[in-house]
């Protein structure tokens, strides 16, 4: 089986999982006792007509299973079955329509498109930071096993996995923002906006400021990832240094650097790739917290705001999309894995 067929098969396997994500989230959001409308309208203002009008606008007057089919975008099935209603907005999840936010009164997808880039910027830079520091440190620790370098790197990794990211964020703000005053303590500067938006003179200053603003949240979010990657990198490198072909290469007098580059390093990256994929969920959870600490208006804050205002459609949409992003992320890492390791058979995984 080729890489393409493998990719297609993995994508097909993801469909039931994605469907399941929609089901779970839908059930959870609807588990709330009472009606979302109750939270929306102040009690004094609540009249029967008003509630009925709101329910009709957001499709809340229908029974749960019909709402779910509608949410998924199967309105045409309902129509074919002769179930009335929903003529005004016939699209759903399948068509990329996530419904209308009750709080903002704007389409959920539009809100998400404006909030996604900051989160992506934060997460990509955090992972870049984590990989750029963890891989060399892990290799170094493996090569100097049980020497001081190794012990230090193990302590760093241990502290890294044991520390709440939001606390690291707060500490970084206090040290570098409040006490030393070196770096800004909140919000991001987005490199895709024109420099004039922030009153900067040109792109060099814009990029400089972007990095300055990104530094603290990046480290706060990336530390946990760095620690987990470093641990795996270290044990993975130690394992491949002990492989027979490495011993053989050494016996042949192949220089240590060549062994590193050609024999040990590449194979050792496989567990790391898997780990990055699996860590996406913890990174998203971390991003929610870090965005809150640094007042970054990304997806994480959007979810928290949505939950705070009980914006039922928005909670549903954001959670479902994040679940989808994770599933796709895992598929991408699986494919990357297959690409890096020629030994992976595409036939049976798991």
């Amino acid at each position: 089986m080729g890489l393409l067929r493998y990719t297609i098969r993995r994508l097909l396997q993801a469909i039931p999982v994605m469907f399941g994500i929609a089901v779970i989230t839908f059930i959870l959001v609807n588990a709330t006792p009472g009606d979302p409308v109750d939270y929306m309208v102040a009690e004094e203002l609540a009249s029967e007509e008003l509630i009925a009008a709101i329910e009709e606008r957001y499709g809340l007057d229908e029974p749960l299973h019909i709402r779910f089919l509608h949410y998924l975008g199967f309105s045409w099935i309902l129509e074919a079955l002769g179930v009335p209603g929903f003529q005004d907005s016939p699209t759903g999840l399948l068509q990329g329509d996530l419904g209308l936010s009750m709080y903002y009164d704007r389409p959920v997808s539009e809100l998400m498109w404006t909030r996604l880039p900051p989160t992506l910027l934060l997460m990509i830079s955090a992972f870049a930071f984590a990989i750029a520091t963890a891989v060399p440190l892990g290799v170094l620790a493996a090569r100097r096993r049980n020497k001081p370098t190794d012990h230090i790197s193990r302590i760093v990794a241990l502290v890294g996995v044991s520390t709440p990211s939001f606390w690291i964020g707060i500490m970084l703000i206090i040290i570098f923002g409040v006490l030393l005053g070196w770096l800004p303590t909140g919000r991001l500067v987005y490199p895709w906006r024109p420099p004039a938006h922030y009153g900067y003179t040109g792109y060099p200053e814009l990029f400089y400021q972007t990095i300055r603003h990104l530094l603290l949240p990046m480290v706060a979010l990336g530390t946990l990832q760095m620690a987990t990657i470093m641990r795996v990198e270290r044990s993975s490198m130690i394992e491949s240094f002990q492989k027979d072909y490495v011993t053989l290469a050494r016996a042949y007098g192949v220089p240590e650097r060549t062994i590193m580059r050609k024999h040990a390093f590449r194979v050792s990256q496989l567990p790391v790739i898997t780990l990055v994929g699996l860590n996406l969920t913890s990174a998203i959870g971390g991003a929610v917290l870090i965005e809150e600490v640094f007042a970054i208006n990304g997806m994480g804050r959007l979810i928290i705001q949505a939950i705070g205002t009980l914006d039922y459609q928005l909670v549903l949409g954001t959670t479902v999309v994040i679940g989808f992003v994770f599933v796709i992320g895992v598929i991408i890492t699986d494919i990357a894995y297959a690409y890096v390791d020629p030994r992976v058979s595409y036939g049976e995984e798991r």
Partner: protein
């Protein structure tokens, strides 16, 4: 988080050899304990856990006095204090709010770590926070462990469509970031009245997949064992085979994961409380204390330091011990 690592390692194999024939001399609780005794870092982790557990049992330190004189978080508490114990109240206007710790300028040894925004003693609250964290860590992990063991064992033992359905369900649950899943669970199931108990159940449920996947992978090999075959031939009921043979023999790596996950749970619930969806004031909880401290970051940075250190030390204890346990149970290492 140690999740990723322990998963990759435990899922596909290293621990898989445990209990297989030929390793009999190297397994069993006595051997494991001996190995941990020889492992200095694991021992250190164990001591940390013991200290944390001991601190969590501490009750009654000055709590009444603290609540009455300094607990100005709710007016009715103050009113109650004025009515019943006026002698405990500080003179008007002299509540010592946001006091720095004793070793800083303006600090006093009456409050070694200072006071919070309501003038409550920070050390006392930190000690009470241990109870919440220990409770949360153990109960939530137990929920995940029990739920995951049942689902994983059934899934692995029966195989076929049962396995397919259960595993797809578990994967689905796994795909939603725990923090988000738990907040949604907490808020919507409680009817917008979040409380720590919802958070505990939510985290427990969110971690079922992790345990289910691990135990399933173990059960897959255990169910092929001769003794399981023998039990089946002897006509033992499936439920009894699962309970008496399959689950006990698949359990060791699960226990390791559970130890590591107590730390992860504490971390996640601290995050929940930090966002305001875990423990609710006036409960003394480390995450909730950090939530408040974040608001006073500029005025009193001290407040942010202590709960974080408490979380760090506790989780580090569980991580060290869990790592040691994992090494001891893994016959491949040394």
């Amino acid at each position: 988080m140690a999740i990723g690592e322990s998963q990759t390692e435990l899922d596909d194999g290293p621990a898989g050899e445990i209990g297989d024939d030929g390793f009999e001399a190297d397994v069993g609780w006595r051997y494991t304990l001996r190995k941990i005794k020889g492992d200095a870092t694991a021992r250190f982790g164990l001591y940390v856990i013991i200290v944390v557990l001991a601190v969590s049992l501490v009750t009654g330190i000055d709590s009444n006095l603290e609540r009455l004189t300094l607990g100005r978080y709710e007016d009715f508490v103050l009113a109650e204090a004025i009515l019943s114990h006026p002698e405990h109240l500080p003179p008007p206007g002299e509540t010592e709010r946001r006091l720095p710790p004793a070793f800083a300028e303006e600090g006093s040894w009456a409050h070694p770590l200072g006071t919070d925004q309501n003038g409550r003693d920070y050390l006392t609250r930190l000690i009470y926070g241990t109870q919440v964290s220990v409770f949360v860590g153990i109960v939530a992990t137990l929920i995940g462990l029990v739920g995951g063991t049942i689902i994983g064992a059934i899934s692995g033992y029966y195989g076929g469509w049962v396995d397919d359905v259960l595993m797809r369900a578990v994967e689905t649950l796994y795909a939603i970031p725990p923090l988000v899943l738990v907040i949604v669970f907490t808020v919507f199931v409680s009817g917008n009245d979040p409380d720590i108990i919802y958070a505990v159940f939510g985290v427990g449920i969110a971690f079922i997949p992790v345990f289910a996947r691990l135990i399933r992978s173990r059960v897959l090999s255990v169910r092929e064992m001769d003794y399981v075959e023998a039990a089946r031939a002897a006509g033992v009921k499936d439920r009894d085979i699962l309970r008496r043979h399959v689950i006990p023999n698949s359990f060791a790596p699960v226990l390791v994961l559970a130890t590591l996950y107590i730390g992860v749970t504490i971390l996640i619930v601290a995050g929940l409380s930090f966002l305001g969806y875990g423990a609710q004031p006036p409960t003394a909880d480390w995450g909730e204390m950090l939530r408040v401290a974040h608001q006073y970051m500029h005025a009193n940075p001290w407040m942010s330091i202590w709960p974080g250190i408490a979380i760090l030390v506790t989780i580090m204890g569980f991580n060290l011990f869990g790592d040691g346990l994992q090494d001891a149970l893994d016959p491949r290492i040394k």
